[in-house]
């Protein structure tokens, strides 16, 4: 026992919890950069874009980005584990088609049809999750497959039809204002906020969330410490499917029209927003406040540019450039630092 290397037993080491001060840990993050950019763009637009200051702007903004906000929540968790789900928009289409067929054609009550659509979303997510987690297939390939499959089912189900006879009460609900006429907050924000609280808890304040990050950083090590990697991934894809189906219901009711091609192409918008919000596509990094800011940022830019009379092509250029710049920022800063360091040396 008495070796020269034996540590002095009497004074166990203690450590500070953090290497840096709180402000540095909060302010010098990707997430905060997105939030700051959002604030800048928002207040700039209020001052300079005609009609942006009106009461309708925020209201329409929320209505427009609601499906992206919703799906971005589970998508963040999926991407943090290092996977990806490209099938979300197709699940929206399928849920839309199911709601239409079951309600209008099969005569189901709205709640029953909605429930069935969400269950279908759960099933879609479970198929993705099973193939990814238990069969071990790459999620990019799996969900490119189910992107086509679920969309095909939706379009096959409805064909040329667009089903529009939904009860007014239901149709109006998502776009009703929470605080009455003239205010900016549509009812769809209520389920969103509930889900937001749920997902923030899940990712940032639960043991499950720690597992999610660990899987993204190193799934083998996670497995070795008792994280159930397969089940976690399955659950995340199921959540993604369920929330997408819910977003599909919103989409259907907001536009009052169930169509097989509803929301096509939305998956790339969701992913763009999540990545813009600072989530690493390699997994293991990212936070929900950044993601929410990313989604709202895209919404604000689109809205302001539309008010300025720009059409979709210019908006796409701006959002695409922003996405590229956001990921290029880190290597660019590192490069500048390196050049600086070299210049100081020589």
């Amino acid at each position: 026992m008495s070796t020269a290397t034996a540590p002095a037993e009497s004074t166990p080491r203690t450590y500070p919890s953090y290497a840096h001060a709180l402000w540095r840990r909060v302010l010098l993050t990707r997430e905060f950069a997105v939030i700051a950019l959002l604030l800048v763009v928002f207040f700039y637009s209020r001052g300079n874009v005609p009609n942006f200051d009106g009461p309708l702007t925020l209201y329409y903004l929320f209505l427009d980005i609601a499906p992206i906000l919703l799906i971005a929540l589970p998508m963040t968790l999926v991407i943090v584990t290092g996977e990806i789900d490209l099938s979300v928009a197709s699940v929206m289409g399928l849920s839309s088609a199911l709601l239409g067929t079951l309600h209008a054609d099969a005569g189901w009550s709205m709640p029953m049809a909605a429930l069935a659509a969400i269950l279908a979303g759960v099933l879609c997510g479970a198929v993705n999750g099973f193939l990814v987690a238990y069969v071990g297939l790459p999620s990019l390939a799996v969900t490119i497959g189910t992107l086509a499959l679920y969309r095909g089912l939706a379009e096959g189900l409805l064909g040329t039809k667009a089903i529009t006879d939904f009860p007014d009460k239901w149709r109006d609900w998502p776009s009703n204002r929470i605080f009455g006429d003239g205010t900016s907050y549509p009812m769809i924000l209520v389920p969103f906020l509930v889900l937001l609280v749920l997902f923030v808890w899940l990712l940032h304040f639960s043991t499950f969330g720690r597992g999610v990050y660990e899987i993204g950083l190193n799934d083998e090590a996670a497995h070795f410490t008792g994280v159930n990697v397969e089940r976690t991934k399955l659950l995340l894809f199921v959540m993604s499917g369920a929330v997408s189906a819910f977003a599909g219901l919103y989409f259907t009711l907001r536009y009052g029209s169930a169509r097989g091609d509803n929301a096509s192409g939305l998956e790339l918008q969701v992913i763009a927003a999540v990545l813009l919000g600072g989530v690493s596509i390699f997994g293991g990094r990212g936070a929900l406040h950044g993601v929410v800011a990313g989604v709202v940022l895209i919404g604000v830019i689109s809205s302001a540019m539309r008010l300025e009379g720009y059409t979709v092509n210019k908006i796409n250029i701006v959002i695409g450039t922003l996405l590229v710049l956001s990921v290029m920022a880190t290597p660019a800063i590192a490069w500048v630092q390196r050049v600086w360091a070299r210049r100081r040396l020589s």
Partner: protein
């Protein structure tokens, strides 16, 4: 010691080649393709035996074949290029503009312009990805939006019509040599050249090494940046070529050209056995995957299946392909283990005897 050396190396060469062939994903996909063509022809013999049927069989997949080759190279390096659809559209439109400006330009020169322009767009992707060391899926998603935005802004309220092209160019889209359409010949030549390069050149093999493990490739001293750059330039150039072919074949170019085709290209490569995780696959597989995708789409209506279900079939096909791959490699693993058990058993006997 290494108990993993199954009898493989003891097999005679021919046998090994045959076994390898039978196991290869390319052959499986090709077999499925042949079966589908045969069954569909049985149902309606015009599918293969009318001259239109024969031509469509060859010519329809050409565009996707070219894109799939580029996509395969990128995926083999463990990247992905989602911007090819936008590049295709932009180049197709450029082709039209070039002809409107200089109607007498020789057709081959236009192909070169298309290739070069596509390569330029690919270079942008490649520089950002290879030098910035940022994930390809993010960058190409960004340039997917940007390139299409530029295309829409440029084309705006304008489109190119067949009458804007010289007839020699339009004819390219339909002309055939020995009943093989020129467009298909272009796609096959592209496949042959790229495939030959990847298989027989040292630098070609480096694409596989990089996709297999990029960190190892860096430690090994492979020119990772240059190769990744090259992969994206190649993918861009081929998307550009596809753009010119698009213009030749469809005659009109509007802002929708190439919309959404990127996922089809990825799908074709995946069906053809190119592993999305990099390092595995051939361009020949990707090409066959493209032909299968397109041919199934064309066969479904003959079978009386409404085209609304086509997407579903394509999706099921992709899932089926990757799942089968997986099951097959699981079986391989089990065989390997069984072989190891045999290897364990053998010395035991020797030991007892001695």
């Amino acid at each position: 010691m290494s108990q993993l050396d199954i009898a493989a190396s003891a097999q005679p060469r021919l046998q090994r080649a045959l076994v390898g062939l039978a196991k290869s994903r390319e052959i499986t996909v090709a077999a499925v393709l042949v079966v589908i063509i045969a069954l569909t022809t049985f149902k309606s013999d015009g599918f293969l035996f009318s001259s239109d049927g024969w031509r469509n069989l060859l010519v329809s997949p050409a565009l996707l074949m070219i894109l799939a080759v580029g996509q395969a190279v990128v995926i083999i390096t463990r990247n992905v290029d989602l911007s090819v659809g936008s590049t295709l559209g932009l180049t197709a439109y450029l082709t039209g503009k070039v002809f409107i400006q200089w109607p007498d330009l020789p057709v081959p020169l236009v192909f070169v312009i298309g290739l070069a322009f596509g390569a330029l767009l690919g270079l942008v992707n490649g520089v950002l990805i290879a030098f910035g060391r940022v994930p390809a899926i993010v960058i190409t998603l960004g340039t997917l939006y940007v390139y299409r935005g530029i295309f829409l802004s440029w084309a705006g309220s304008d489109r190119v019509n067949a009458s804007d092209f010289p007839s020699s160019f339009n004819e390219l889209g339909t002309k055939a040599i020995l009943t093989i359409p020129v467009v298909t010949i272009i796609a096959l030549v592209v496949m042959g050249l790229v495939g030959y390069y990847l298989y027989t050149a040292r630098s070609g093999r480096e694409f596989y090494a990089i996709g297999s493990d990029e960190d190892a490739a860096k430690l090994y001293g492979l020119p990772v940046t240059r190769r990744v750059l090259l992969a994206f330039v190649l993918s861009g150039a081929l998307a550009g070529l596809a753009g010119v072919v698009y213009a030749a074949r469809y005659g009109t170019v509007s802002s929708g050209a190439g919309l959404g085709i990127e996922l089809q290209a990825v799908g074709a490569a995946v069906i053809g056995g190119v592993a999305i995780a990099g390092g595995v696959g051939t361009v020949w597989g990707a090409t066959i995957g493209a032909v299968l995708l397109i041919t199934i789409n064309r066969a479904l209506p003959v079978w009386g299946i409404s085209d609304f279900w086509q997407q579903a079939v394509v999706g099921a096909l992709i899932l089926g392909a990757i799942t089968l791959d997986r099951l097959y490699s699981r079986r391989q693993e089990r065989l390997l283990i069984a072989a190891r058990d045999l290897a364990h058993a053998a010395p035991t006997k020797v030991g007892t005897a001695s």
